[in-house]
Symmetry: D2
């Protein structure tokens, strides 16, 4: 039966996160440790300790491994509330890529792998990286073009290749490496995922890229894999099934992005509304100019639609479905609608919007990335069109 | 608890309407009695008889007055399914303005008024008009500018003025007239609604307008009120509360528009998808051109979002709330998104899209009106902005 | 040297057309002979006589054949002024498809063909059709898919096939048929164009289509070619070069569409501005609502840009260049920008916009077709992208 | 007579600037002296020396004062070519705000003022600031709200107030201060402009703002005026006519913005085209995906339109007209169209687009500011609507 009211428990969690973010996290937004390559690990550790003290760390992880075992709908309300500050998700240990990596390990890893990797991650004691994307001509939006290779080496594997735009690489303690795998006979047996502690010999962060966005701890880096050695038990799940696991990770990871950005867009909107109610121009409050009021009305509609799309997809995932189509739609709808929100907020703020005196400037830059990260809109539209064709 | 699954009963009703529309209604789409001023009353009567036979007539009316007493969510699924043919809502007696008028009577009328007006309406034996809009300088989007006047006359009232864009006037048997009301002392005591049987002396359909849309029986007309006399019991509800009742009618009426148009847009999309899968151009199926596939993907997202917005608002109304904000948002979101859908479908069909050889051309024209009827987007944005200001 | 001022002669011609259209043509806009399939031939003849009397008939035709030999820039100013009424181009004999057909004959036909076909066309005594487009699976946007065939027959040809969306077929006296041509050996030797007087045995207008637009005399028809016989001298230019001549016709024809629609959009804009200055809503003139004022400002920018794009392309053509890229850009820019103008005007007019009480409703419907006729936007974007690739 | 061909001299200047920018300026784009607050003065000086050596410094200044006396159309071609590198305008001393300040001095200043201020500016030996914008509740988009005050003090003036978003303040040697002026009697006699050498007692750069854009030397700063003393001959033009002079400066300054950004957008487009021709995805070059090809086609149309709008407005200004309406239209058209270009380029580049590995990321950030600086789009639309109303 159609119902748009979260459970009492979900509402209580939402309220807890909201007040936590407002009271404890937002004050850190003026902290100088927010660098062009993201908050420093030092700042991150301080924030994580706050969430741990509040009992709000890693809610998405299984209860057995230190989390709350929150389902997708519960994540929807908590992550949105967390995203209200760009520092919220880092604080609660639910930022990309760690959140998705934990989800993947929770679903696919052996008990031993969980003990070794998931436990410290869930406790916020380590950060992790997901090494999939490659520089041209390797795997960008098209994972099939992967060039990194893993070849058998004793009872383990040796991995070589180049990765690129690897979020959080600088300072990470755990890596998940995606590589095209070959058997003893040199036959390509499909892509596999390999776990590795970091730092590791044979894996080098060659460069942290300067990027428009600046909210991920460690930034985005170029990584050289030059004979990285991993043991046989480093394989996550089965050899050759890397793309299948990537799917396990990607659909929900795509959706949690939507949840977090939804909160960020709401923040930008609240700032713009506050400004429009106060600032006067040409003899009247900004908000009384229809040119401004209409932008704010459009924001409310875009936020409303995005929230509905997120909730719907979360519900689909909670029913145990793959949700490929729904998460593609949610990704495109949210990334484009929320970006429009940020863009309008910036415009409403005028010159002020271009400055870092409000969080809007930062939210705008981050949301620009959201239209590209985890699959550009074009790739999702292409995928949706293919589904229409087959139907 | 968040749930996106309609009840079993709702799903069964949806399925019944879907097969009814496909099997019984769509064959009438090539009927020449679909004129530039809408389907003739003759065609309407034939269609209504079909719905009556199927037990699908007037589902929105209270059970006591001949309907199913369907709540807003139940209407959401049934009306969308009905709208899949532009003839569906007329067939099931849930087209504007009758559907909203019945809803209004159901909520506000006395038993005697219901017996006299609601009963034949619900039975599909009569059509009705809602006489509110006036030509310039009267009440257009701004009801406050109303010029039509009702003045005391014996134990009744005499009404004079001009109405315009009155949907279904030609052939209607029942009228609801909105007029600025004056007391014996000549004091303006607010707007009131008056019931009148039709035809009536003092009320003349002076002209049926040629309009872009052509799906409302009776078309849209100009009506002259020149001393229309009504009894004291003709007042709907209380004297002077006309705008309040207009609100009772408008928010749900706005939403049922969204429901019906949603079905129409889905129809256009299905036609465009079918065409794109078959038609070849430049050596490949149309759907394999990204330029076309992306448009169809956007359609699916716009339809998805519109459906979520409708369901959400229906749920709000079912909770007993006024839903002013939610219905304004749903109206703007749906009218603009579904219009984009129709526009893209027409473009995908190319030259064929401009012809009446498919229903897309008609759906496009009707949806253009949807962005204006029941409040242009601009009025809703303005109203949303005012709410943001006050918050 | 960059100059944006038309010559004195061009300005004088523009002024003449403007006053002619306002004084003589616009009064006919309420003529009931404007049917759903275009103005009747009777109305057309009456209008053409007016232009002849005014010395404004067929200005684009060579002076030797009854016109003024107007260059592209001169056409730009005259055709825009003519398009200010949807009846203007018909009146001045510069409407599609006749205008383009005359241009083609002027460029390619033999003296004898000109005497036989161009002369009566230029004098406004006959209308013509261009039979290229075919129903699926034939030549739609992709002329390469043409299925109509011409085969040798004595010293002439016999042509069979089906054409579709043939503008002005009903009542036309001259036809230009495009057909895939075969030699005696049955070898495909390319497409050719054939002239034929009409009516003709073997060519049948099987149906006039109902379409959204309604401004072309004769409407758009389906035509059956079943053994149409033409003489050897019926070939326009050389056998097998039909596509080359189609290009000669298409680039300028595309641009004259832009010129005429520009005038129509200007008309819609003037109507909307007039309405917005007069109509009050919520206590103030519509134009004082930024929501309306901004739409009108956007109209002015879209009209400004369209005019610049037309002028630029006309200048390129006047330099003797093919202008394929420029005319594709002008077609997409103008069709989309001018459509937006019409759409905004309709929205500004509100309910009035949906009625035929102003010309805006009609202009909107016609402009919707403009985004498809003479190559949908998608085909032009595709062609522009191919040029970018090659560069 | 309409002509779209620049003069031979203009074409030669364009070619000279193009090769200068490519050969001499672009190599500096990887210089680490490009900071978050713009290129350092050190880097600027090095670049300016290059332009001086090439004879391409300050072409817009009168010949008598060290420039070429380039008219608006000549500026159009030179500035666009210069903008092809974000460092080009700084190199050629035609960046904001210096370019507009020199233009203002050239038009309004006394010979003595020109000798003292224009000469070193034109020689590239000094940078200048235009102190107009104020923090809330002062003069933002609405100059009428100005709060800074100048009061008589001996034979000069004392100025106090706060300025904000003052471009290039850090390191500037010359200031133009806009202030509301009072006479001896304390009467407000209108706004005036005052020249001042910098640094100066009573004028303090209190903070350089962190902003999204980063291409202006000195960045954007907050400036405190606390009893700044200027002599009587410091007044630019006449007392009380400050807004009139602001207009002298603003329309052309607005247009030169368009010229420079046009070059920048062209650069972004060229980068995106190059990438799309090389990068493969899903088995084919990016450019062969219509989803990408259409974006690039749209870029070409947006660039084409922007160039035509710039040329048209430059021509209007060269005719000696004020060009208020034309420059407003050009500002809105260019800022929005060129921003769309940058946005599409970034999207085509995917993850790479978010990095500083190409200039696109920077161009995107700068162009976002362009939609706000020198009047946000909304203020120009508002002004255009007012003109429509009056017409």
């Amino acid at each position: 039966m159609i119902d748009f009211e979260p459970t009492a428990e979900q509402q209580e969690l939402k309220a807890r996160v909201e007040s936590f973010v407002r009271d404890k996290v937002i004050p850190f937004e003026s902290d100088p440790r927010r660098t062009a390559h993201g908050p420093t690990d030092d700042l991150r550790d301080e924030l994580v300790a706050l969430a741990k003290a509040e009992g709000l760390l890693s809610p998405h992880v299984s209860e057995g491994w230190g989390g709350m075992g929150a389902g997708h709908m519960t994540k929807a309300v908590m992550f949105e509330a967390s995203g209200y500050s760009m520092l919220g998700p880092i604080t609660m240990n639910i930022a990309a890529p760690d959140e998705g990596n934990m989800h993947l390990l929770d679903e696919v890893a052996t008990e031993a792998q969980k003990e070794r990797y998931l436990k410290p991650l869930a406790a916020g004691e380590a950060r992790s990286v997901f090494l999939m994307t490659e520089p041209s001509p390797g795997a960008g939006s098209d994972p099939g073009a992967m060039l990194t290779e893993a070849r058998p080496d004793g009872n383990g594997w040796t991995i070589s290749g180049r990765k690129w735009l690897i979020t959080g690489a600088e300072g990470a303690k755990i890596g998940i490496v995606m590589a095209r795998t070959f058997d003893e006979a040199g036959e390509d047996i499909g892509a596999s995922m390999f776990m590795t502690p970091l730092p590791a010999e044979g894996l080098r962060v060659s460069r942290v890229l300067d990027t428009m966005d600046s909210s991920f701890t460690g930034g985005h880096a170029e990584v050289e894999l030059d004979g990285l050695k991993v043991d046989g038990d480093a394989v996550l799940g089965e050899v050759g099934k890397g793309f299948r696991y990537a799917q396990v990770r990607l659909a929900p990871a795509r959706l949690t992005h939507c949840m977090r950005w939804l909160g960020a867009a709401q923040r930008a909107h609240d700032i713009a509304c506050g400004y429009a109610r106060e600032r006067e121009s040409f003899g009247t409050k900004l908000i009384d100019h229809e040119g401004v009021g209409f932008m704010l009305a459009d924001n409310e509609m875009d936020i409303h639609m995005s929230r509905l799309a997120v909730w719907h997809c979360a519900w689909v995932l909670d029913q145990g479905e793959r949700g490929g189509r729904e998460s593609s739609m949610a990704k495109v709808i949210c990334s484009e609608a929320l970006y429009r929100v940020a863009d309008r907020c910036l415009q409403v703020l005028g010159g002020m919007g271009m400055t870092r005196d409000t969080e809007v400037e930062r939210i705008f830059r981050e949301l620009r990335g959201f239209r590209i990260y985890d699959g550009p809109s074009e790739v999702h539209r292409w995928s949706l069109a293919k589904q229409i064709k087959r139907r």
